[in-house]
Amino acid sequence: MSELFAVKYSFLIPLLPLLGAIVAGFAGAKLLKGRSHWPIWIGVGISAILSISLLAGMLGLWHTGQNLSVAKDVYTWIDTGNFVAKAGFWFDPLTAIMLCVVTGIGFLITVFAAGYMKGENGYFRFFAYLGLFIFSMTCLVMGSNFIMLYLGWEGVGLCSYLLIGYYYEKPAAREAAKKAFLVNRIGDFGFGLGIMLIWKTFHTVSYFGQGVGTNTGVFELAQMGHLTAYQLTALKVIPFFLLLGAVGKSAQFPLYVWLPDAMEGPTPVSALIHAATMVTAGVYMISRCGVLFFGNQPAMMTVACIGAFTALLAATIALRQTDLKKVFAYSTISQLGFMFVGVGVLAPVAGVFHLVTHAFFKALLFLSSGVVMHAMSGELDMRKMSGLKKVLPITNLLMLVGCAALAGFPFLSGFFSKDAIVGAAFARSNILGGVMLFTALLTAYYTFRLYFQVFQGPLIVPPAPAGDHGGHGGHDDAHGQDHKHNHEPMLMIAPLIVLAIGAVLAGYINWPSRHASFGDFLGQSPSLKQGYDVAKASYGEIDGSALGQRITGAEAEAPFTPIMGISAFVAIAGIFLAYELHLKNRAKAEDLAQSAQPFTAIVQGKFFVDEIYQGLIVEPLRTLGSKLDGFDKFIDVMVALVGNILQIFGYLLKLTMQRGYLQGYAAAMLLGIVAILLFFFAT
């Protein structure tokens, strides 16, 4: 395993994007200017090639039935007494798949971004941040211990903050960046506590220590028989702390509120960070820590319930959103909810599978809406546009593919992965399955509501505000004129076509759904193997194939299940509903919305979650803050008073004693000396 070329040079995977970021960041402003994308293209491109070769190498080894996991330490990062953290990497199928998603889709998006961001102010800054993001994200998925995970975790959070606030001259972007950072802080605080507790419990932060079977890492220590009472108690709570971090990063209820606002960032950022990669970190983390989570029934219940509730809530909100990107933002939250349900019902294969397919089609959708935004001079309100297929013929097709995949249209990628999750949810509980199925219906509806509204029907193009590219802060006029002739430059369309192919075909990596496919490959990851063991110990008999484990008996299961039929029907029903309401008779949709009035208003107000947070958390905290500020001022006055009193004494002394007679001073000194001498001789 370790002789694989890609493993040997694995340190280059995070290093090259970082170097690219440094070059773009420091040389970009003066030297590279409009060519600042080159360091990032090269860095991320080579990383992507290495990642794919890693995956290919692993697939080769998998077919010959070899061990697929290896730890590779680069150097000792922190070494203080008994706390040691290595800068090391851990490779297994889960890492390889995540790496390919991060660097592969990351590369496509950097290519797109070069076209999209052309002529923006701070072009180099954008690419420097992108490089830094890829570096952090690869550290996150490759790290061999929790400290590396945390490094990447915080790094992506920082890059997310920087990139959301990219148009920092816009107040909304600044606010959104701050909100994302602060909300993530809540989650990261819990995550940090979880890692500290892990160290306190096991005195190591490494996943597998020296390798699988050495019993030196957290995951193996947690599985050993003779644990102390303290360790057993800690194992019960650790998943909840880690889960808090996952909920923050993956935008789940109650910490999802930052993601819709994060759409203030440039569209490639929304695609890369807030759809395809960063927000899936939570799903990755739970799968990685399978041994901590899967045996812990309350934690798994929480994961599944949070996921299901978020999926339903976000899908409902998406029904009444009119901003193109906001619809996709809520859709992302909803789909992340699906992934959480996937891992929560002990089907991490389905969860990670949906992660991969979702990365393709959601990146595609975001970038397509970026093309629309680019062509419509920054306009995103879908009520103002219609029938764009005449202006943007290629984008129309791409968007259709993306929407169909998201809606779960049969035989596209979203269909397979969503179906796997819905099926797994039904296997655990009918209520959970029902909720997911209903959410799938809503998904199909709101996706095609958007598609029919924007691309079909009579042509309505929003009037272009001359010279002012609203959403595009610094677009100059010349650039805008340039694109009047060609709204679909090749540089932007080519990556989209690759993504579209992925969105169609990615579903077939888990085909046929049992052996010799994605699930089995993923199941070679020790995280999932252990997860299966602990889950079996805790739940009794479970479906091992959902964790990618080869089990005897249920092997020859058919690739088609009844659930597939139902979910196909649901998807088509949703699309049909959207067709009826938003293409054939658009007025009917409004009538229907009006007839369900209080509900419509609540949905339109996004369930007033932001307002509730404002009232329940932000305002009381602000009041407390101003009270504390008053107390602080009181302390300041008291401290100043001490100094003032002494100053008054000094002033009095100056007036009485310091008169300028040299002899007077000498006499006083003499008297003082005499007094001291007398004092000494007297005692």
Binding site: K654, Q658, R659, G660, Y661, L662, Q663, A666
Partner: protein
């Protein structure tokens, strides 16, 4: 000698005389140091005085220089002429 120096310093107003009085105090201390070192059969005191003399010579040159400067600005050697130097 030390007492003469103190009295002179406290009673006279002339800067040069005051300075001479400080030198007197210096030498008073030096002589008593030598006397005590002789009495105690300890040469450290005498060595110490030699150092003090060297420093005193340097300091005397500096102080006289300062007095010359003060005299040039005010055309007087009266110590009370510099009362405005108080803080």
């Amino acid at each position: 000698m030390f007492a003469i120096g103190i009295i002179g310093f406290l009673t006279r107003r002339n800067l040069i005389v005051m300075f001479l009085c400080t030198e007197l105090m210096f030498q008073g201390v030096g002589i008593s140091l030598i006397a005590f070192s002789r009495y105690n059969h300890d040469l450290a005191g005498q060595a110490f005085v030699i150092f003090v003399l060297v420093i005193a010579a340097a300091e005397a040159a500096l102080a006289l220089g300062l007095i010359v400067l003060l005299f040039r600005t005010k055309n007087t050697l009266d110590a009370d002429a510099w009362r405005e130097m108080k803080g």
